[in-house]
Symmetry: D2
Subunit: 420 residues, 4 copies
């Protein structure tokens, strides 16, 4: 049903041709993954590379954890750059900056595995496999820091392939294909979607929207999506949004657009940021569809609050440590301290969600206690939620202020929560 | 009408937002291109980068030849890699291969302009502009060889962006959109299409097909396309194909699929090869649609033949040098020598079309005199055309034989044309 | 995402225009339905008719049962044909068959309400409303037989509007839009679909298909759909099909296509038959996609079997009458008698499903006891199911035989079940 | 590329099935058209009807003029209604209005050929063939008035099938498929489109639009289309619109939308009016896209002006009668008399274009001399063109005034042209 039909390999036409080729390439016995990688580097980017790529990806997919680790180690060791060669060529280039030396130098300074990955990407499904491969790799990094250079190469390639100019923003709604919608259910990371009925309540009412970014080669895989509620005021409780018995608001009566859930779908794409563009673009689109909108805000979790609280002295927890026994006023004061004063060693805020929105140029607007009483939210944040406001006329300034000075842009009402 | 709608920046939604941003970024006066590039490198990949990218591309588009040359020189000089830094970092890495040094080294070994180009590609139309930019650059290379390293960077990026896994094969026919079809007319490089009526004769009859490769971010720009005729024998004259009074053949009676025209559409993508995949994929698709097809062949020009002939001794040209006066038999002998014996310094065949098809694994099958009597063809090849056959079961072997040994795979009948 | 976009009235563009018109038409006070119908007949098919049509349909939709009955009675009485006028004009026409008399006669012989309905159909959503209106009407017919002529008019119009040439066959699968899929769940009339997971099991596996007929003006409303299972033998139990733990069959290994559920979606379209075309077309399409298919059969309920059994003498029911206590052999004999000998007064088989498939030209092939043990099936048919075979080479002959002679075409094995 | 794919008969799947059926139906020798029609009436709406319908339409398509006439005469005589039967049934119904009599009466009062046509419409391409059939019929009516009743039946069916609720408004532009665009060229009835370049000038610039109505079953056949120019004032000369060197106007600067060409595409649909809805809907859509638009007007030909002038006394024609020698002022006075005073016997204006726009509720706004100097326009109207204005707030009132009183709504400036 799309412009992009499926005439392409992996599909019918090419089958018999590739089966011949496969026979020829692999008739001496089934090569292992290391051998396949060597064959790939010897091939020349033609159809045989394509066939080898399919084999590499299929072989990899069958590996267990140990096999994967071994594979990554091989890539880290055997497909790294050789600093001696780089030094020699760079010295030549310094003396005589001719084109051949330039070419040789840039090639030598790029680990071979980048070319290996690019060739694996010849298959129509290659990108998807490589994204999953990096997801696996990320799981090994803590225990095997020597694999980090591999991750840098992945990140470098993905940044180029998932360049924002290649991405497409799509509304997701109740007329979207079911195989896309089931991924929305699966990837929702903030407020779990428990059934198709609940999904429908988030997508179908006239005051509910969802937008996702897609990449053309993974057209049935959202990369990141945001769920939006149109409201008549800035909500202080997630229940106001998710309540299944509420009456929808007519869009022309809406004054607020609330981004109440943002989910990245693929861990393998971490560090390749899309969410920033997504929010600003959706805000702009909504504004042009519904001129009555005055404010673009979030209702966001505070995932590190409880853990931080646990380390503060003199917090009146219940004996079991399971619940907070103090006043709401005190809790708000603690929350303000958490957002404004709790920092990472690099000086950025401790709260990861705060870092995301502040980096995007949003302003921390309001703190809400008893805003999300689900077990998960109580566990993470004692029920606290924050509103961030995207004032489109100021996000760039805020962003720069934050980037340079790590300044937490926030409203006066939050600042007042702190004892002077 | 496509899956990919146009909710994206450059479009309505984002307009007022970017106009505010523009004002802020550029209110100190209009920066020149060099200044814009500096601003871009200082920006951080956020919306401001997007706005600067638009300015860079728009400013570039307004430059004359001299301005463009100057711009390229600036990129070649100011955005090159610094070999001293590379040496220092590579030495560090040799001693202590830690992740920070690795990262610093790979970044230092990549000319800054690659990042500059990647950021220009943030705009939805960036890729298209960059392809045109390289087209401009290629025009300067002969006179300014110091720009070649710049071209290597472009080629490196385009190879990654136009990875075959990202490309989509599409049939082009009389139900295709007019703005695509007019590009087929414009880009046809072999047998000129003089009118829409002629275009229709090439696309609409049941025995005529056309396929093109597209990239999702340039969805109205074919990258390369091939025109195919279904026939009952291997044609020896282009007139048999293009004759406007012929009766179409029913596809189920066809035994031959003839690729009679292959056109690359963008000089800016030269060296990023697609044609090879295109022909094999189209052949496989046709075979599965029309099982009666027995042979996949081309009817191809021999663009260097006449120039080569002009340098041979004892060729019976007319006094004016305008026409060949010898026998057809002699002409065929000369043609066989041209294809089998005339070589470039690197050992590859002199004829560029032969190099393309032989590299793809095709076999030179038959030579045809008086095969194309258009003025252009007489001028280039004295009317000679060649049939190359794609035997899908053998193309990979042939390809490798050619790549290793520069061997011209050809039929016995051609070999016999040479005096023993 | 469809070719058919929504530029049409009812949509944005026309809003302010129609609101002016509405004001003008209805400013003298809100007319009742009878008055609206009179206004409609006085209007001239222009935009004012469109506005009135919207009012009529909206007013109707708000009526309760009584109001609807009254409305139908009004249509039956006030918008009927006048036989005296018909007699007069037909007499004129007999004497002098001129064109004006012809026109007057055909108009007079058509009840006015047909024109009224056609004008209501001017709105883009009119057809859907009228189909629902007839659904309401059908509910009144038993108690109010004088409304039957009204039903004949509806049927006459719908037969013309839902002409098979206007219908479109569409595959329905897991990539179909959710708002279509939820209608498949809602309309499934044979084997209830209890959840989205179950729906997925019926649509997504490689050996499961679903096809529906749509009408362009009701493009999100399937009219009738059939669910198909590819199998390696003719199934005797619905459990073989619906089992959620089964392993899918590769389509190229399939020899049987089993139509295990056929559902008409709109009672308001009863008598406008589509199912016949649907089955034959789907069978032909599957055959051309999967040449290995040898047999097209159903696994169908026998909805009247238990009721018929209850009236037979000497059937060994349990004391409570809730279950059958006899042997399977006896049950099969009774079933054979039910299908072959139990008849309606008009000579057609008593079983409604049998009438449908036999009329389509299918052959009654096999009877299966304990084939569906769901409570509903036990209640209706004591668990009995029948296989009907569509032998495409014979369906037309069978159809004619059945239509002329009411002959139940059946296999020898069924005939043998009867005592000779 | 559309939602509506082509799984349907006439297509692959059904081929082998229908060929069997064909053999069976027609094996006794090829029936003639009369026999085919009898077979059709005996068939029962099943697949055999479909096959017979294909035969009828194919046989008809091969007929010459004489054969067609004979066919129409047969339909007029043998498939008419029988007034005696109608009288008998109407008398029964008058006495005893039961449902069976009602049904029999309405069936008897409808000529059989209506059912014949409905069955021909079972084929997916039937509607298109029937529209062409009526086009043929219209050519015979003058000489054979006894066929008029046949035409009334066609009109009756087409009005139901081409009900406005079934039609779809589509923009036509330079991204539309070529096979649609070539029909725009072919059907343009007012200002000939001489080449694809000219077509592009009418569709592609930002101040040019074209909209067409389509019916789903003839999705590659526009029914009627209108070409629109956005301008900054009401144009007085067609040259201002069609000039190929003009600079396009930015839409946001446009104040006028000018409908400068409206073409009905199928003579076979005459009397089934669409143009009225088209103009109002396009006007409303444009208004909502471009709020700066203040006025919706036409620049229209006056096709009967010269013929009328030729009959007036004392008009200063050149001796050859080929050109008008009077003053522009006199010409305008004559033109005003033509529009305001020249009438058909039924009291409506003589000018056919005036009748169309006045019936739609437009106002005759301005007369322009030397407005179209093409030979055709000089021949028809001495170069005169008229502007009609569609004031959406008044069109309904105007329409009713015109329908009731045949009043020519016109501007004061035109009325002043008449001598008082």
């Amino acid at each position: 049903m799309s412009f992009w039909n499926d005439l392409w390999p992996g599909h019918r036409g090419i089958d018999w041709y590739s089966s011949k080729l496969k026979k020829r390439l692999f008739d001496a016995g089934k090569p292992d993954l290391a051998e396949l990688c060597r064959m790939m580097m010897d091939s020349d980017g033609d159809f045989s590379s394509l066939i080898i790529a399919e084999q590499i990806l299929a072989s990899y997919a069958k590996l267990g954890q140990e096999g994967k680790l071994e594979f990554f180690k091989m890539l880290a060791e055997d497909y790294d750059l050789d600093p001696e060669v780089v030094i020699a060529l760079a010295s030549d280039y310094a003396k005589n900056p001719d084109i051949h030396t330039f070419k040789a130098l840039t090639e030598a300074a790029e680990p071979n595995r980048q070319e290996l990955f690019r060739r694996c990407n010849l298959t129509s499904d290659g990108t998807r496999h490589l994204v999953r491969m990096r997801e696996d790799l990320l799981g090994f990094l803590d225990a095997h820091p020597q694999l980090e250079s591999l991750d840098i190469d992945f990140h470098h390639l993905f940044t180029s392939w998932f360049n924002r100019g290649f991405l497409v923003l799509q509304p997701v709604n109740w007329t979207s294909p079911a195989h896309i919608l089931e991924k929305i259910i699966a990837y929702e990371a903030v407020h779990e979607i428990k059934s198709w009925d609940e999904l429908r309540r988030r997508l179908d009412p006239v005051d509910r929207y969802c937008y996702a970014l897609f990449h053309p080669v993974m057209e049935d895989e959202p990369l990141v999506f945001v769920e939006v509620a149109l409201t008549s005021e800035m909500p202080g409780q997630i229940h106001e949004i998710l309540d299944q018995d509420r009456t929808p608001l007519l869009p022309k009566q809406a004054t607020h657009a609330v981004f109440y859930s943002i989910s990245n779908c693929h861990r393998g794409l971490s560090g390749v940021s899309f969410g920033n563009f997504l929010i600003k673009q959706v805000a702009s689109s909504l504004k042009s569809s519904f001129p009555s909108l005055q404010s673009f805000a979030t209702l966001s979790p505070a995932p590190g609050f409880r853990a931080w609280m646990a380390k503060q002295p003199d917090i009146p927890y219940s004996e079991s440590g399971q619940s907070y026994n103090g006043s709401q006023k005190d809790l708000l004061e603690q929350a303000a301290r958490y957002f404004l004063e709790a920092k990472l060693p690099n000086g950025k805020p401790l709260d990861s969600v705060a870092r995301f929105h502040l980096r995007n140029g949003a302003r921390l607007e309001r703190l809400n206690v008893a805003a999300d009483c689900s077990p998960k939210a109580m566990e993470q944040s004692l029920g606290l939620m924050a509103n961030y406001v995207y004032d489109l006329g100021k996000v760039e300034e805020n962003h720069e202020d934050y980037m340079k000075n790590h300044r937490v842009i926030c409203s006066a009402q939050i600042r007042k929560l702190l004892p002077s």
